[in-house]
């Protein structure tokens, strides 16, 4: 939790305070990026971009919002943009084709990482569902905090989270029964 006094100092132009603040939040920012993008290098890039944006936009933060949701909004927006750029629009048929090819290519590599099943399952969620899950489990956010961060209505947050868990549960259940992967 970032001290409000530190935020205020950073906003008033205290560069050292702003750097200290960035150091305090960089792990949180990185963690969200890592689980949304499911790739270390992309997560590094996105997190750095988010920190730079926070650095330049700190004066636009208003105290009526929670600082942690403000930060997460910035990083999730960057991640979702990146996510869309990395995966250009494909038709549903092509999309499924890509999944199958990808899983067969990665089979050898990934088979040694059974513990990564859950990450692979997360990787199959649509972007907003994924973001909701990440904020709920990696940032311990409440429904309301998730809604603030993603700028979504509360009911939408709930339905995304419930559907995401249902889907994850189904996928993992299939893995555990030795069913089709990915």
């Amino acid at each position: 939790m970032v001290e409000p006094s530190l935020i205020r100092a950073a906003q008033s132009g205290d560069r050292d305070a702003l750097i200290t603040l960035l150091r305090e939040i960089e792990t949180h920012v990185y963690r969200t990026a890592y689980y949304i993008l499911n790739n270390e290098q992309d997560a590094m890039d996105a997190a750095q971009e988010a920190l730079i944006r926070i650095y330049t936009k700190i004066s636009s933060y208003e105290e009526k919002a929670q600082f942690k949701t403000w930060i997460q909004r910035i990083v999730t927006n960057i991640c979702i943009d990146k996510f869309r750029r990395n995966k250009p629009t494909v038709s549903i048929e092509e999309h499924e084709l890509v999944f199958r090819e990808k899983s067969s290519v990665e089979e050898d590599v990934m088979s040694t990482y059974v513990a990564d099943d859950i990450r692979k399952a997360i990787d199959m969620l649509p972007e907003h569902h994924r973001a909701v899950v990440v904020l709920r489990y990696l940032q311990d956010f409440s429904y309301n905090e998730i809604a603030d961060s993603l700028d979504l209505p509360l009911n939408t947050v709930k339905s995304y989270l419930f559907r995401a868990r249902q889907q994850l549960q189904t996928l993992l259940h299939e893995y555990q029964r030795g069913g089709v992967r990915g």
């Binding site: 960089e26 730079i52 989270l161 868990r165």
Partner: protein, 377 residues
């Protein structure tokens, strides 16, 4: 309670969102519905696994990695506040180009709402700063890079226009004159290099703004740089509008800049000496104001009584040219001896001068400005 409803309860239970009553109802259902009980078990396990996902940390400090970028952002911010760090033409011209690109459509349509937005987007201190940088760059070029400047001339001229346009309307005449002077200097340079590639001499007249184009397109031909004095009355209008509301298309803006400067110059001292610049062939190529063109050997500019014509002794020859356009009407050809005593008749129809060759007698000449003839007297 249906299994569908129970599903939502299970989900909410995972998030500790059930009150006691709802939690009891969920427990009561799963006690006898094994499907729901299995599902709830799986969801709880999933939730626990999600909770225990590794709390990854970056491999190195991200903040340390971005410090150089943050420093750059800081210096750019400081830079945008007032200082223009490097007045290189390339950089200075770029924002100007954008500025002009936005200016062009606006001047044709001039919708008020868009104009508002445009004004908002422009940082006036930045524009003025860039214009000032452009002036500096222009002077820099003239002083340090006199070779090959035709391209630069255009940029500089644009910058000049920006400078003139962004000035307040009430800015002093002297400012304008300075602007003009540097513009002229650049123009002289460019014309010179044009002539260097142009061995054949045929008279062509160009408006000064077209000098560079002429160099590109015609290749040959002597170029007379013509001052747009003819536009003078309308010019002062233009310059006022150009200065206060710089919405004119770039060409006009350029013209307005030099015009306004020229106008200012003219108003200030109508009879001030004017200089004719020569190329390396000794041909007069243009008339300009400003005393920095040291290469020219010009003196004794004499204005005709009605003000339409001017006569000057240039490198041993007498030239008669129109005062407003600067077009050379008559060239006496080089005379052996010292030319002196340029004198207009009261009706401006004749110009007299005398040539003294060494110890010999003076020869008197008369130029008829209607017939354009030279006669010995």
């Amino acid at each position: 309670m249906t299994c569908q409803e129970v599903m939502e309860y299970m989900q909410r239970q995972l998030d500790d969102d059930l009150n006691d009553h709802e939690a009891d109802a969920l427990t009561a259902h799963t006690r006898y519905c094994s499907d729901c009980a299995d599902m709830f078990e799986r969801l709880k396990r999933l939730s626990a696994e999600l909770d225990s996902l590794p709390k990854v940390v970056p491999a190195f400090s991200l903040v340390d990695a971005i410090i150089p970028q943050l420093d750059r952002i800081d210096s750019e911010r400081q830079g945008s506040e007032w200082t223009i760090e490097t007045p290189l033409v390339g950089e200075a011209a770029q924002p100007n180009d954008e500025w002009e690109a936005e200016v062009v459509p606006l001047s044709r349509r001039s919708p008020r709402d868009r104009k508002k937005g445009w004004l908002k987007r422009i940082s006036w201190p930045a524009v003025t700063g860039v214009a000032a940088a452009g002036l500096v760059a222009g002077l820099f070029l003239v002083l340090f890079n006199p070779v090959n400047p035709p391209e630069l001339k255009n940029e500089t001229a644009n910058l000049e226009s920006a400078a003139a346009s962004s000035e307040e309307p009430q800015s002093s005449v002297a400012d304008r004159a300075i602007t003009k002077q540097s513009a002229d200097e650049v123009r002289i340079e460019s014309t010179k290099s044009t002539n260097a590639q142009a061995p054949s001499v045929s008279e062509k007249r160009y408006v000064s703004e077209q000098t560079t184009e002429a160099a590109d397109s015609s290749g040959g031909g002597q170029i007379k740089v013509v001052k747009p004095y003819a536009d003078l009355p309308s010019v002062s209008d233009k310059s006022t509008t150009g200065a206060s509301v710089p919405l004119a298309p770039s060409d006009d803006a350029t013209a307005a800049a030099s015009d306004s400067a020229a106008g200012a110059e003219k108003l200030r001292n109508e009879s001030e000496l004017m200089f004719i610049v020569k190329d390396q062939y000794g041909e007069p190529m243009g008339i300009t104001s400003g005393g920095n063109s040291s290469s020219s050997d010009i003196s004794n500019v004499v204005l005709s009584p009605d003000g339409t014509l001017s006569a000057a002794i240039v490198d041993g020859a007498v030239l008669v040219y129109t005062t407003q356009e600067g077009t050379v009407q008559l060239d006496s050809g080089k005379k052996t001896g010292v030319i002196s005593g340029l004198q207009w008749s009261d009706d401006s129809k004749a110009l007299f001068f005398e040539v003294k060759d060494g110890e010999g007698p003076k020869t008197h000449y008369k130029i008829d400005t209607r017939e354009w003839t030279i006669t010995t007297q």
